[in-house]
Symmetry: C2
């Protein structure tokens, strides 16, 4: 699998589709704005509301996936990363990921208790392009 | 919740993001082409490969979700439908949903054993628009 190509593909995405499993065992999906910080296609950071349903789900069950796709007339690409989601509330990481505009969502600033960071760590990638699928451990 | 507005929103989508839970309990997401047949926002039909990983997952565990989203500069909308996915291999339903072009994916035609139909039945809708979320049983 061409990991450099996958990294360019991910780098062009504005939104990540984040998968979780809810307390009743149902899958859930949510689009989240792409991240301020990322390490290749293995570690992704998102900021979100501590009080959100998704954070509650990830505290109970950290099994997660990220999905990215692009459909052009000649080509359909999809990348799914499977891994672990951790909820981080450490003041340092919250401050490090704070961006201008975040106060719209977290009025109290970087120390707002309703602001937290989700860190996704991938262990496997599955890439689909034009009827062909391949997987790799990361 | 304005179900007529949600139906128009879904009617404009070309792709559905389909969530499942794999054999290890991880969530999985896949973009699937929007369906040939749909009953409001409650029942959706997809055609897919019987041999696909996703069909195997749904045979083991029918818990599923569909997700649709749209991001415009002024507005972000997301709709998640939670429900049950059934794998249908009945010849009548396969023939009824067959479309021109499907032979690219299923060379043997409507009776191709690698062609099957997924039927999603929603029991709950959760709609997000600009920081506001509401849920409804369907």
């Amino acid at each position: 699998m061409d990991l450099a190509m996958l990294e360019r593909f991910v780098g062009r995405q504005k939104v990540a589709l984040v998968g979780s499993v809810d307390g009743d065992g149902f899958p859930a999906v949510k689009a989240m704005l792409m991240v301020k910080k990322r390490e290749g296609i293995r570690v992704f950071y998102f900021s979100t509301n501590t009080s959100s349903m998704r954070v509650g789900q990830f505290r109970e069950n950290g099994k997660a996936c990220l999905y990215f796709y692009r459909k052009a007339w000649f080509r359909y690409q999809g990348l799914m990363l499977r891994g672990q989601m951790d909820v981080l509330e450490d003041a340092d990481i919250k401050l490090a990921l704070w961006q201008r505009g975040d106060e719209m969502f977290y009025p109290a600033g970087p120390s707002d208790p309703d602001y937290c960071v989700l860190r996704f760590t991938a262990v496997e990638a599955r890439y689909y392009c034009n009827l062909h699928t391949e997987s790799v451990r990361l």
